[in-house]
Amino acid sequence: MLKLIIENISKTFKDKQAVTGFSAELSEGVYALLGPNGAGKTTLMRMLADILKPTSGRILLDGKDISIMGDHYRDSLGYLPQEFGLYRNFTAVRFLSYFARLKGLDKQEATTRVDEVLKLVNLQQDRKRKLKTYSGGMKRRLGIALALLNDPKILIVDEPTAGLDPQERVRFRNLLSEIAGDRIVLLSTHIVSDIEYIAKEVLLMRQGTLIQRSTSEQLLDSVKDKVWKCTVEQHALPQLQKHYKVGNIQRVETGIEVRIVSDQQPLADAVNVTPTLEDVYLYFFNEEVIDGVQAGML
């Protein structure tokens, strides 16, 4: 069984601690990394992609330190960063063929795999087009194809669905589900609906540390009695937003329907509702914003 162990890793940039004592053990399946901006997700992913060295701690694949494994580790890796560029004058086929060779595929393997992944991301019609003519969504799909090119055992994808249309997002989500059976997939996203049904576990990060690791069900269960819905008048909304974590706001006939995440019942007529992962996100991370605002006011 594939096992990736992250052993107490930390990363410091000059005076900034980006990741602090992060430990986790991952086996086959999809893991979702959730956290606000600046939580250290990208830094953690870069360390897992072997393009950034931890200041302390180590990462082990099947018991071997990845910094010692080097090429062998990266041979098992598929990585798609949040922001990446393409060679404007390359066609999709040329681009993927180039990366296929970088990933160690021989010429014949490369030709076959390039065709397969282009089909997988629905770009086979545009395979001969220069990349400078690609739209943002097409570029991201090509990035996904690139990450899957070497049939990696470990797939690390940072915000992979940003810029994709809903249809493509569903397609990608299903694709991840299909391929995750015999590999480790770690993805970070702000779009929590992307992971709701496919993530084996969700890792919540805040200020560089892992604050919680649970299944989606357990996370939903942890906020089970903390999600409320009520209808208020327009003028009461600012006051409510000041004191509570307010999620969805929807105008209805009788006023404004708001979704609130709170340990206590916020208003007498508020009723408990079934939580979603968005509520979980709000519950764990909205605090950051409030703290930040308060710190600024002080």
């Binding site: 830094t43 393009i51 960063p81 560029g85 060679y87 404007r88 990366f99 990933k103 990035g143």
Partner: protein
């Protein structure tokens, strides 16, 4: 991988634009009228009379003829007579060089006598003495045609300028573009992204330099062939190449202590110039990686090449600055200027000939720079 790296370099339109401009410049310069090019058959006749190593009899005849011309006894209004006059001038010049060489040998023998055998001065004098003595009747008139301007593009400084522009233009983006395009993360996370990619980039860059360099050499040789009308003189000693009416280059090898035939010297300069271009290419690649910006790489590379030329212009080439100038990329690329005279450097009390020392030093430096590029690329971390 190598093919795609080549594609990245060769798909840039700017290099073709500059290359064509350089070729047009070469064509323009080569068609400029010169006093004489020795392509006319009259020079073949003159070679029969005056050609080969200089002799006392030839010098005597040449001087008599020149004195007669000076006294107005002989008119030199026709091309044939002017050509004869020029060849006689070359013969008498060669005689003077032969005389200088003989005097220099005497002076060196005296130096060797004055200094103890183990001293640097003795060793230096002995090396020069042996080199001059090995030159066997090299001074004289030789009909040397296309070779006169084949050792560089137009002249040494222009040669450096034109080649440098093409090298900077082609190689400045090699690493820098990966950062500009934001493809570094993708590359470094692949199996061969930290190691073999550097080899592929180096090989592609090497191919670019070889292709550009050889293309320009072939075009330059062809233009010279058209201008001078043949390859006569290929087996003449390089001392037969003197600055004169027939060449754009002001370089003269009549005082050179190096024992090369023209064809040997041509091959040597081609090989060394190619090495020099590669050495410059390697520093450009390292800068491309370090600066992560094409424009800055171009700018810094230009400064590295141009500073010694500027120091020379300002006349500040004494002491340390002198060493900086002598052992610079500029001098390395001006290969044809390195063999015109005797120059040696004291290395642990042993004299080492300047051209050899320069190339050995830069071979080591280039090797180290390549290793450094590999090391830095492999160990770089992405944290932007």
């Amino acid at each position: 991988m190598y093919r795609q790296e080549c594609y990245k370099i060769f798909s840039k339109k700017s290099i073709y634009l500059v290359f064509i401009t350089i070729v047009l410049l070469l064509v323009y310069v080569h068609q400029l009228p010169t006093d004489m090019t020795m392509r006319e058959s009259v020079f073949e006749e003159l070679e029969e009379t005056w050609g080969g190593p200089v002799t006392e009899e030839k010098v005597e005849r040449a001087r008599e003829s020149m004195n007669a011309a000076d006294a107005g006894e002989v008119s030199n209004h026709t091309f044939e007579l002017r050509a004869t006059d020029y060849v006689q001038f070359l013969v008498t010049g060669a005689a003077m060089q032969k005389q200088d060489q003989s005097e220099r040998l005497t002076m060196l023998e005296a130096e060797m006598h004055d200094f103890d055998e183990g001293t640097y001065e003795h060793r230096e004098a002995a090396i020069e003495h042996d080199m001059l003595q090995a030159l066997d009747d090299v001074h004289g008139f030789y009909l040397i045609r296309s070779w006169r301007e084949m050792f560089e593009l137009i002249e040494p400084t222009t040669h450096v300028l034109l080649l440098s522009i093409l090298i900077f233009l082609g190689l400045s983006p090699v690493f820098a573009d990966e950062y500009t395009n934001r493809t570094t993360d993708l590359i470094l996370a692949t199996k061969h992204g930290k190691t073999k990619l550097v080899s592929a980039k180096l090989l592609a860059s090497l191919s670019y330099i070889v292709i550009v360099f050889l293309s320009l050499q072939i075009i330059n040789s062809f233009l010279n062939l058209l201008k001078f009308g043949g390859i006569a003189g290929w087996d003449a000693p390089i001392q037969g190449i003197s600055s004169g009416l027939d060449s754009l280059s002001r370089l003269s090898y009549d005082g050179s202590p190096y024992n090369f035939d023209v064809w040997q010297f041509f091959l040597l300069t081609i090989a060394l110039q190619l090495f020099a271009s590669i050495a410059v290419g390697v520093i450009v690649l390292l800068l491309s990686f370090l600066t992560k910006n094409t424009m800055i790489t171009f700018f810094v590379s230009s400064i590295i090449i141009a500073t010694p030329a500027l120091l020379q212009q300002l006349g500040t080439t004494d002491g340390f600055l002198g060493y900086l100038t002598d052992f610079s990329f500029l001098k390395l690329m001006q290969v044809s200027t390195l063999f015109t005279q005797f120059q040696a450097y004291n290395l642990f009390d042993y004299p080492v000939l300047y051209p050899y020392l320069l190339f050995i030093l830069f071979a080591v430096v280039t090797g180290l720079l390549i290793m450094l590029t590999y090391r830095l690329f492999r160990n770089q971390q992405i944290s932007h």
